[in-house]
Symmetry: C2
Subunit: 312 residues, 2 copies
């Protein structure tokens, strides 16, 4: 298995990315190879400095960088020698099995949509995030920002995608799917959730448990929380903001510490033809390692293949 | 000034409501009278038990109760002798200056819309909630649930209503209005927030400072956070849920304690012709006292009159 990693993306590139790759190499099985994509000189000098020489690491030179200032839709055609463009090129040629980056999220989404494409039948690929639950488990929420406006059938598909992810990557046997809403009973909500509820309650594709409210996000009431990308993004950033505040206040608690992004590393883009993982722009080496471990878990689970079969 | 209080609403009625009224009486100025609306026998026996005899307290008998199970739109016509129905009747006859209840929120909204009516020019009245900020202040967010689906011009009006509330009740001289969104720059967001941004940035009615994200909800970046009622309700319940979890975990912190609903008591329905205040169903006596103090502040500020003038 070959996992591609963008070395030029993120706030602490290239150093944190190369160091993260070194950490991941120690943790991942021997048959996993890492393909580091970025400025070759930068990469080799950090590897040399750390005395790392492994035939499980290869380097692909990509001299250019897509920055956070680049326009997502224009960046890839305008910068064909950037690490993100080269990564998608390798992925579409099957020279890597997965591509992970902490760089420009918009460019990663655009690359996923136009270089590897949505799986036939998937209306809108989406991204997910982990919700640490107070009982010690993890739930996920999707979409968290790829699709600000959604139709009811799109929410229905998010439920299917989330259920497949929870089953195959998180090893939850019969994931409970909740619709994020502003009341528990059927009939509550805005026009979108009212319609989505009607579609979802008839589903044989997943185990729908009904509406869940904002206060249930962290209680583990649902394994998969479905919402439009606008609401999901607000939820995610509110949780991040609250975690940041508890840190500033010096509050130390094992549960709250689980909101530290370092623990998650990244999220796959669900519903595209190849494995694409995006990570937080502020990722340090531990977070990059986490992102690569997630890339491995996703590839090993054959999630993408299973989504293709489910949407046939 | 006469403040009406529903004695039959909420989980701990009638006792918590009467005790809250007694606490409020001690705190409010001498020219404030309280009108307690509910089962007369219940009320007088609690007052007697507490040895309270004051010409600042009067009782209006309302033998029936609108429960949480009653349908919001049907409850008021079906139960004309309920405390909520009688309260709105007194309010529409100007026999009280303000009506506060911790009972069925839906029925309170319906009563506000059909018994006291929206102020001419206000498309959709709304409800607001306090966001305690980490720097020690308070922001507000609106709408938090009265309007699940909103148009851009409705969000614009929420900004006006929130600005008037912040100025007149919270005494913030030039309130900063932020639009809750999923990116900071203009052009980010869903169709609703993209359009609302365009309307709001041209505004001379309030001081628009642009988009704010979920992570800024508790930093005091904006004094007034504007969003549709679906998003606002999720934000509010997520914050409540996180507060509950920190309590369960035994985390004690002065800032987090500010999320305790007891500190706020209630919220006015903004944009209707008379002062209506709704409180949390789980309100104890301290929360009921807080609701009455808020009712006093709102009435004293002449907010409703100022909204009428602004929307002329």
């Amino acid at each position: 298995m070959k996992l591609g990693l963008d070395i030029s993306g993120g706030d602490f590139a290239p150093r944190a990315n190369v160091l993260g790759a070194i950490l991941a190499l120690e943790q991942l099985p021997d048959d996993v190879e890492l393909v580091l994509i970025g400025r070759e000189n930068d990469i080799t000098s950090i590897l040399e400095e750390k005395g790392v020489k492994s035939d499980r690491i290869s380097v692909v030179d990509a001299p250019d960088v897509i920055t956070m200032e680049d326009h997502p839709t224009r960046a890839i055609p305008q910068k064909p020698n950037s690490s993100i463009s080269v990564g998608f090129e390798l992925l579409s040629q099957n020279k890597i099995d997965s591509f992970a980056s902490t760089g420009n999220t918009g460019a990663m989404l655009v690359g996923s949509m136009y270089k590897v494409n949505a799986i036939p039948g998937v209306i809108r690929p989406c991204i997910t995030s982990v919700l640490p639950t107070v009982n010690g488990g993890d739930s996920i929420i999707l979409d968290v920002g790829a699709n600000a406006d959604c139709k009811p059938d799109v929410l229905y598909q998010f439920a299917s995608l989330g259920s497949l992810y929870a089953k195959n990557v998180m090893n939850i046997s019969d994931p409970r799917i909740g619709l994020l809403n502003i009341g528990e009973e059927e009939g509550k909500g805005n026009l979108l959730t009212q319609s989505a509820y009607k579609l979802m309650k008839e589903s044989k594709d997943f185990n729908f448990i009904g509406n869940i409210e904002g206060r249930d996000l962290f209680t583990g009431k649902a394994d998969v929380v479905v919402c439009d990308g606008f609401t999901g993004n607000v939820v995610l950033k509110q949780a991040e903001g609250m975690y940041t505040i508890t840190r500033q206040l010096g509050i130390k608690d094992d549960y709250l510490e689980r909101f530290n992004y370092e623990n998650y590393g990244g999220t796959p883009i669900l519903g595209v033809n190849s494995d694409v993982i995006i990570g937080h722009g502020i990722s340090n080496d531990v977070a990059v390692k986490g992102m690569l471990c997630l890339a491995y878990d996703v590839a090993k689970s054959e999630l993408t293949q299973k989504i293709k079969e489910a949407f046939k």
